[in-house]
């Protein structure tokens, strides 16, 4: 029983009151991303039969063009399905449908990245049993998508030669999480004075774990290495 005058005793005994009104500490130790991570886990389970990619880059690096080229190049060999996120328009989903891949558009309105819940809802519109590779084309943004697990197997970061050499240094969080870094638009590298050695050195420094594939979605140069990589990862997942 705590009476006035006992305070020194109370401190020495390390007494912590549990009576209402008293200050106390509540341990929580929970991630603020817990809800998204939970949905991402459910997505991962739902996507267990398909190779799932989360494709990110800055706007205009060529994500959709690469996916169109991939869909056309793998016709008959790999069945692609796409979930694509943009703030507005369904332009990308329309392009990808035309290229032969069933595609669902997420128009986020104002949200600058895709979250697991959005992907879960979009996936309901796809027949996962009829595809081999599920590609999630994220909102064009090198910052925010990094923090959001969507339930993917692989994170692919696209970089165009028109962006110079230092994007990995400027956006380390996204590149640090990359399984694959694709360098796009190699066909115009000379025209923009791209320093290949410097660019690859920067990728290596920030993302030594990433497989690097250089290609041009437009000309098809290097595309085979990318489609071969996908086929190999799919085989490994389904083994």
């Amino acid at each position: 029983m705590n009476t006035p005058g006992d305070t020194r005793d109370v401190r020495l005994r390390g007494y912590v009151s549990a009576e209402p009104g008293d200050a106390r500490t509540v341990q929580v130790q929970k991630s603020l991303m817990a809800h998204n991570d939970q949905v991402a886990r459910a997505n991962r389970e739902a996507f267990r039969g398909v190779l799932t990619l989360n494709v990110t880059s800055s706007p205009g690096s060529g994500k959709t063009a690469l996916l169109e080229a991939t869909a056309r190049a793998t016709e008959g060999a790999l069945r692609l399905g796409v979930i694509v996120g943009d703030l507005e328009t369904d332009n990308d989903a329309v392009r990808l449908q035309r290229a032969g891949a069933p595609s669902v558009q997420i128009a986020t309105g104002t949200v600058c990245h895709l979250e697991a819940e959005m992907v879960a809802r979009a996936a309901e519109a796809l027949d996962l049993g009829a595809i081999d590779v599920l590609v999630i084309e994220n909102v064009g943004n090198l910052v925010c998508p990094a923090a959001w697990d969507l339930g993917e197997d692989l994170r692919v970061v696209l970089l165009a030669v028109t962006e110079g050499e230092d994007k990995p240094l400027k956006y380390p969080r996204l590149f640090k999480g990359a399984d694959v870094v694709i360098v796009n638009k190699v066909d115009i590298a000379d025209a923009v004075g791209w320093d290949r050695a410097q660019a690859l050195a920067n990728v290596e420094q920030v993302a030594p774990q990433a497989q690097v594939i250089e290609l041009s979605a437009r000309t098809g140069d290097g595309l085979e290495a990318w489609t071969g990589f996908l086929a190999g990862r799919l085989r490994a997942k389904r083994a």
Partner: protein
């Protein structure tokens, strides 16, 4: 990055925990934010001022501990603190770039101080 959304979520979680502990007030919210999480302490504090109005945390103070980014070097079998400015994890002992990030991406509600 999305500090306002994060603070709204943190307060939501904090209220649920405080209620479960039969508290009337939240006096302090303690967060652990990784150095590579993309979240800025000042922006969190600013967002907190806006987000706490009308909640159990409206008089609470916010404590943010930044967790340094550390990576593991397989060659040296040891961890090291990374150069946060560039996200470069080159082992200071042997120079090998590392992809094995052990700490630095946290976004945790660590603990609360409550009363009442």
């Amino acid at each position: 990055m999305h500090e306002l959304g994060l603070m709204l979520r943190a307060i939501e979680m904090a209220e649920a925990e405080a209620r479960a502990a039969n508290a009337a007030r939240i006096d302090a919210i303690h967060l652990e934010v990784g150095a590579l999480s993309g979240v800025v302490r000042e922006a969190l504090e600013f967002a907190f001022q806006a987000a706490r109005a009308g909640t159990m945390a409206e008089r609470a103070h916010l404590e943010v501990v930044v967790v340094p980014a550390t990576a593991y070097c397989g060659s040296c079998d040891a961890t090291f603190e990374m150069d946060n400015r560039f996200g470069i994890a080159s082992c200071p002992r042997c120079g090998t770039p590392s992809a094995d990030l052990r700490q630095g991406r946290e976004l945790n509600l660590s603990h609360l101080e409550v009363s009442g």
